[in-house]
């Protein structure tokens, strides 16, 4: 079986490192090649890593509430960089405060993300979606 590559990171000024370590472990265990760019990652760092490793998916975490500001324009930047079709997943506490998730999800889907996950999602959910979206 082909080993697909994922770029994993925590976007913006966010320093939440615990979940990042766990996702890295879980995705690696599930058979993916994980390029982990860690916390405090800019949009440019995600894209650069994705191009360099020919990744199939960019997986963005945001735990600190600024996700909306930080993620805007990521799809457009991907298009400009020639990887416009790459899968974009995002998850975490994406907005400030407890908001209805379906509204949050809608906002991020409109921004060009393929999958949006609420707080507390287990890695297994994303792994299943990855397999589906990548035809594994």
């Amino acid at each position: 079986m082909e080993r697909k590559t994922l770029v994993l990171g925590v976007i913006g000024a966010d320093v939440h490192a615990v979940g990042n370590r766990i996702l890295d472990y879980a995705f690696t265990q599930a058979g993916f090649k994980v390029i982990n760019i860690g916390v405090l990652a800019s949009q440019e760092e995600f894209i650069r890593a994705a191009i360099e490793t020919a990744a199939s998916v960019i997986m963005v975490s945001s735990l600190y509430g600024h996700g909306e500001l930080d993620c805007r324009g990521l799809r457009e930047k991907c298009q400009e960089s020639g990887i416009g079709d790459i899968l974009l997943y995002v998850g975490g506490n994406l907005v400030v405060g407890k908001q209805e998730f379906n509204k949050v999800e809608k906002r991020f889907l409109e921004m060009g993300f393929n999958r949006v996950y609420p707080p507390g999602t287990m890695p297994e959910v994303a792994i299943e979606d990855l397999r589906k979206d990548l035809g594994l």
Binding site: A13, V15, A17, I22, A26, G65, H66, V96, G120, M122
Partner: protein, 484 residues
């Protein structure tokens, strides 16, 4: 390295100050002498260190929330709500994450967008952008003392502005606001940044103005062994006192096992006093802060109230001077003001019910205290050795060597080699010691406790055990047992 644990030379301080105050336009409004006069006009009831010392003398535990939003009026309204409806003993001003990275232009975008969309687009109050006068407006309209809480590796400008703005307490430190909050900033640099902050506080103290300083105890907030966070807290306490800080609050984040938590909060001020005295310092007042559970929270509010209550109970039984309070919305990030006040009231109820009770000394508690004391001393003694007696130099080398090592930290200046796991009673032990300078007896104690858990669960200790522990509280458990 030109780093050393000694009072910053005045010339060097004023050279830096020019630079710092020019980092953003609001820096020009800082006038130290005028700020001293302003502080002296505040009533004692608004002075953080004063109220802490009173509480310590009475043996009571105070409650303090976290809170901050983008705009001044909304932030003031939030704090007043927590004061009135939450019965908060102390108030915070939590700073947004852009300011923490010194990205004041992005913070300004956040302010502008917040005005436009009518809800806070920032996860805190961008105090640098708002400036000195805005800070004073907060202080003047609130009854209780207010502290700056953030997570800023280079917090010099933020300190200049908020202290001139009348805040009487300032959280952070060169290690505790670097290792869990930065990826690429060297410890040498952040220690210097924080020596500046501590020196600034020392200058206020020399003018008779009390500013409380609080290193950030919980670090990454996830399975941090007490001796690791205690080691860091004591070092930051020494670095602060060396610059003239007098009112010092040392912190610890709840691990979840009552005996370990009580042992930790009781030993923390003892260890700090021991090393401060050993290094020749005597003019300080140490109080303690206990952080309610810093790891993942259950999404269900009723369950979250349980986690909050258990943190309040441990703080009260351990006789911490204050407790930092979580809200029932914790799993979703930043709470509404109502949820924040509810977490406070739950906490206050427990603190009031338990204020006349404490945990009596027992063999088990004595053992936990002994282990924490011995482990912390091992870390501190080796750190002093590495620095040839200088704690600042020693700290940089200790991180390089993995002698101090914080689990799950984002910083590349942290070795990241140790691996903690819970034992069968939920106490945090160490599965992989990395380079922690522990005697074989201590290591054997940890190995035994974790092996016992392995036997209980019929599996070998591994990283999966650690992951299970991290998810456990979200599922209602302390120890992450395998599914049966």
């Amino acid at each position: 390295m030109d780093l050393a644990n000694r009072t910053i030379d005045p010339e060097e301080f004023f050279r830096q100050r020019q630079e710092v105050l020019n980092q953003w336009t609001t820096g020009k409004d800082v006038d130290f002498e005028e700020a001293v006069a302003y502080h002296k006009s505040l009533p004692q009831s608004k002075v953080f260190g004063h109220k802490l010392a009173e509480g310590k003398a009475k043996g009571i535990t105070f409650a303090q929330p976290r809170a901050g939003v983008a705009l001044l009026n909304e932030h003031l309204e939030l704090l007043r709500f927590l004061e009135e409806e939450g019965e908060a003993d102390f108030l915070p001003t939590t700073i947004d994450s852009y300011t923490r990275q010194n990205r004041y232009a992005e913070a300004q975008t956040g302010i502008d967008e917040s005005r436009m969309v009518g809800r806070s687009m920032l996860n805190g109050f961008p105090a640098v952008n708002h400036g000195v006068a805005a800070c004073r407006r907060l202080i003047e309209h609130l009854k209780v003392p207010v502290q700056v809480r953030h997570g800023t590796p280079d917090a010099r400008l933020l300190a200049e502005i908020t202290l001139a703005g009348g805040f009487t307490a300032y959280e952070g430190g060169g290690i505790s606001y670097n290792i869990p909050y930065a990826k690429e900033v060297s410890i040498e640099n952040t220690i210097k940044y924080w020596q500046y902050v501590d020196r600034l506080v020392g200058m206020y103290e020399e003018k008779g103005v009390s500013i409380n300083r609080e290193p950030f105890g919980p670090l990454t907030g996830t399975l941090v062994p007490p001796s690791v966070s205690h080691g860091v807290a004591v070092i930051e306490g020494i670095l602060a006192v060396a610059q003239g800080v007098r009112s010092l609050t040392l912190g610890y984040g709840q691990c979840g096992n009552l005996l370990q938590d009580v042992a930790a909060i009781r030993t923390l001020p003892l260890l700090a006093a021991e090393y401060l005295n050993k290094l020749g310092y005597s003019d300080f007042d140490i109080t303690t802060v206990f952080h309610q559970w810093m790891g993942g929270f259950p999404q269900d509010e009723a369950k979250a109230y349980g986690v909050i209550s258990w943190g309040a109970a441990a703080a009260a039984l351990g006789k911490a001077t204050k407790v930092i309070v979580k809200s029932p919305h914790e799993a979703f990030g930043i709470p509404t003001k109502e949820a924040n006040a509810a977490g406070l009231r739950t906490t206050k109820q427990i603190l009031n019910m338990l204020k006349d009770q404490s945990l009596p000394m027992t063999e088990d508690l004595a053992l936990e205290e002994k282990m924490i004391m011995e482990e912390t001393r091992a870390i501190l003694d080796r750190t002093l050795d590495l620095g040839e007696g200088d704690i600042a130099v020693g700290t940089v080398r200790a991180f390089q060597a993995g002698v101090i090592d914080v689990p799950f930290a984002p910083s590349r200046y942290n070795a990241g080699r140790i691996l903690p796991a819970r034992d069968s009673q939920g106490a945090v032990r160490i599965l992989d010691f990395g380079n922690l300078p522990f005697h074989e007896d201590i290591k054997e104690f940890h190995r035994e406790r974790i092996a016992l858990r392995g036997r209980d669960e019929g599996r070998d200790p591994s990283f999966q055990m650690v992951i299970d522990d991290i998810y456990a509280i979200g599922k209602g458990m302390l120890v992450g047992r395998p599914k049966i």
